[in-house]
Symmetry: D2
Subunit: 327 residues, 4 copies
Amino acid sequence: MNFDIKRTGRAVLHVTDLDKSREFYDALGLIETESDDENIFYRAIEDHNHHCLWLKKKAEAAVEVISYRVNAEADLEKLELFFQSQGTEVKWMEKGSQKGIGRTIRIQDISGIPVEFYFEMDKVERMLQRFDIHVGAKVQRIDHFNCAVPNVQKAYDYYIKELGFACSEYTTSKGEDNIWAAWLHRKPGVHDTAFMNSIGPRLHHIGFWLKDPMSLIDGCDYLAAKGFSASIERGPGRHGLSNAFFLYLRDPDGHRIELYNGDYYTGDSDFDPIEWDLDDPQRQTFWGHEAPDSWFEEASTFLNVYTGEKVETKQPTLEKRKPTTVI
Amino acid sequence: MNFDIKRTGRAVLHVTDLDKSREFYDALGLIETESDDENIFYRAIEDHNHHCLWLKKKAEAAVEVISYRVNAEADLEKLELFFQSQGTEVKWMEKGSQKGIGRTIRIQDISGIPVEFYFEMDKVERMLQRFDIHVGAKVQRIDHFNCAVPNVQKAYDYYIKELGFACSEYTTSKGEDNIWAAWLHRKPGVHDTAFMNSIGPRLHHIGFWLKDPMSLIDGCDYLAAKGFSASIERGPGRHGLSNAFFLYLRDPDGHRIELYNGDYYTGDSDFDPIEWDLDDPQRQTFWGHEAPDSWFEEASTFLNVYTGEKVETKQPTLEKRKPTTVI
Amino acid sequence: MNFDIKRTGRAVLHVTDLDKSREFYDALGLIETESDDENIFYRAIEDHNHHCLWLKKKAEAAVEVISYRVNAEADLEKLELFFQSQGTEVKWMEKGSQKGIGRTIRIQDISGIPVEFYFEMDKVERMLQRFDIHVGAKVQRIDHFNCAVPNVQKAYDYYIKELGFACSEYTTSKGEDNIWAAWLHRKPGVHDTAFMNSIGPRLHHIGFWLKDPMSLIDGCDYLAAKGFSASIERGPGRHGLSNAFFLYLRDPDGHRIELYNGDYYTGDSDFDPIEWDLDDPQRQTFWGHEAPDSWFEEASTFLNVYTGEKVETKQPTLEKRKPTTVI
Amino acid sequence: MNFDIKRTGRAVLHVTDLDKSREFYDALGLIETESDDENIFYRAIEDHNHHCLWLKKKAEAAVEVISYRVNAEADLEKLELFFQSQGTEVKWMEKGSQKGIGRTIRIQDISGIPVEFYFEMDKVERMLQRFDIHVGAKVQRIDHFNCAVPNVQKAYDYYIKELGFACSEYTTSKGEDNIWAAWLHRKPGVHDTAFMNSIGPRLHHIGFWLKDPMSLIDGCDYLAAKGFSASIERGPGRHGLSNAFFLYLRDPDGHRIELYNGDYYTGDSDFDPIEWDLDDPQRQTFWGHEAPDSWFEEASTFLNVYTGEKVETKQPTLEKRKPTTVI
């Protein structure tokens, strides 16, 4: 490939009650860059760009698009040519049509996930050393997307071979041929995106990176003091896979947010992806409570980038098994 | 009362496999003072006394006795007189009959709990600043006992009125008269002992105090690396009651250990005990996973101090309800 | 003695610029209970009482009084009798003459320190679980006073023998007879008050207890973001003596505040005070930067409780030596 | 450039007493991969490669070489061609001549620093989840080199324009044209290498990344308990520049080690390097003690890669000023 995707960039979520959502995301320590009656734009504490999360007020909760940042403006044309060569329709969003960001292209990926690429984004003041305004979990940056897809092998092949992602860790089942779940990255951490075998495509969660484990505990205390203790769905615990010290939250519309700390550098070209067996009890949970059923079964609906309609989901290719599907 | 009980002192546990138990308690960061084929004596990192936990190898797991330290040797005679005046049989354990400790008295308390009082204990080197040997959860000191009893009101009245304990927090049920659970102290923290309405008497857990929240997370990581992830029964989470950031573990024999950090000073004579409603969802869990059934139902067997037989348990006076019984 | 002093209670400081002081003390995470143009009353996050720090706007910075809480109202009369028997003049402050507090007695102690005793204080909401308003170092409670005095032995003897304090740790010099510094307590931690050999009487610092070491680091970051990095005089580091992980700050008037975490339980009657040699390099600083000269030389002026005049200071009895004087 | 330098890889240090050095580096939490009477090879807890630090026993302390890892074996030939085109002599170290590593090339860089490039290194077990063997500061990975050079502008130009590094932060002096110090990276953090204006070339320090701030405090406690409190030269504190929560140590031969946590992602191509004024007091120290003179004046000697002789140093081009030279 001749284009260069850099990293997980932003997500655009539809939410039904902007005030409730604001209360929740403020408590994570995200910083509001700007807002109006229909929108809130959030950035994290190390961001020097306009936003990494855009909440849009809509009648129904959904995920409009998940976006990756590319290395240069010219990568967008290169990506357009690539997608056209694949027979994938490309939708341009011209500069000015979205706040704070330059032009973007949107496509529906091989699993049906609405994906966007962009380079330009407005620069804003970085708040990394404004410790006086850091609250809650003090979310430092957006890190990754985790998507439920019906065919992980297909998504894996496409992102690795066509889009240039590398694999950090993956799950297989003894005596079976297919990949149950895979963690892929462009920036040299464990993940920019992950896929797991389940009804999909759906967004399982958006992962945010925390500066240290205490920020996760502080986040729990802050959320609980603000009345959001029921929003904690799973954790704290540590995953075997990725080594993440994790917490999973559900926002007021049910969108799932992971807060985590603890992964590692994966940038060496001879890095050997770590294989986990589906039935290894420490794969999902190195230690901590079992994940509740909701964590395995519920996920956010994606929208079609061309029509705005909900993307239809399919049953997974591999037999769905509880300890299996997702992390 | 003319005697002065100072604090939770030590527990004597019967365990069935000393090597397995050693692996587990070592991982908590307890320090072995001495041991032989039948016994291990553990102290915590700030202890200048011989032990706070005595493991005895026996055919069956049980709790031989839970012990409180008194202020002076003479308090033992005063306690003897008091118990005799109550018609409670006192069993003296002469100096030399137990390692590391002076003479003690043992009684079966009003709920049938085997309780011991002592003053003298051998002095040993304090390891508080030997940071090079602190491992796992770096347990700093024993803090409290938590007992399931069939009649909390009776236990509460006895410990408050007869033994001089003070109440820090307690749970009632709206429109009902009785106390469902109570946290009592002699030293000025939240608890030296706690009682909750359940089948009893049984020991629900022994609580150890950690120096900070990160020691609890470090403890989880260390335990999991040592193969003890399945020993984590509940947590990490925060109790509303007591403000404890907690973790509950089961030792290889099923004895329950709480590691916690986060309580507060209760030494003022005008301290108003905090009342919690049984149905307040944040009482048990300010935030965190629901407690599993095992946590509500299982507890350790007490032995009779005079006969060595298992103490018979009774059904609770108040209707047992899941969110109710214990913390 | 027949009276019962419970613990370090509050300090009354004269400050010259209430707005500047507010900015500083707010950044420590103290909570303002009430204030007017001349006064601010602060409490810490676990306090259920009106205040532990009272700032009064005055033309000159000084320490009006340091206060201990007693166990019961009747202890005040008992203390009055005791002081009268010693020939010490007692000044009653009637209820209503000071905000938020009942009647108090004030005396000038054996070293010339203005000391107050009280029992009654207004109750207010405890903010321990209001994690959403905890900021900066999240100061949890007032812990101790540290005073420079010209004759430590005299102060030590008086507080131990006459007032009922116990010693946790102390410093001597090899081959010399006198005590250079001593840490004394009523509540069962390392200190409610400490004395060290220096020009005095002066208040060296007020110590506040933090819930964990990360709160100290968070406090530094918050203070620096608020422009108070120059207020950090010493630390972070760890004292050998007391095991405190410490930070020393100077408020806008130069009053010194210690934030710390890390001491231990001292309530056992057979606790052996820990002796440190004056020249043990790890006594003062188990690890960390050397204390600056200001830390050894500067301290706050006390006022006479009867006249309101500055208390005159004297040269120390023992030869002043830098590594010696104070901790 | 057509080659691809990935990241800071390893350092080769000459030390005079292997046992003393082992005690020190063990206390940082580095893991010994192998050793003999003349050598110790250390890796950090996330490393899946043989070593990031090689200690060689020699009569005199020195830095033999600092090494960067490239993306592929073929990059070595490309680098050779590049250096030859620059008239820089290239020294090949064939595979087998150094333990655990493939062939490497070594050069003396534009400032006279002995620099090595390599791709291949033996793979070993990664200890990231062996929490039971993590001790001290639990060093997670090598991060960067910091070198004193006589002409920062020259080094900066060379690394940026010829070797493909990017600048994250830099220091200038108002009204002056030259760069006083610069932080450069290949991997997307704040630094793989840094240069500052001073007598040079000399190695100021090797920076290691910690997983969280508490590991730094734990490291101090562990070092002090092991008798290394005097090895702490500066910190803990926070740099304005880089946002690092830092600690500087001197190993038994005086080689300086930085432990830090707290930088941020710099991988975006439009990242604007942050400019700091030399006289901004929060540049060097966002908060914390002033650096001691030794920190400004002392640094390790480099060896010539061709001759093995000590590299001669020159006075800095820019007038040396204390707050100026280095971070």
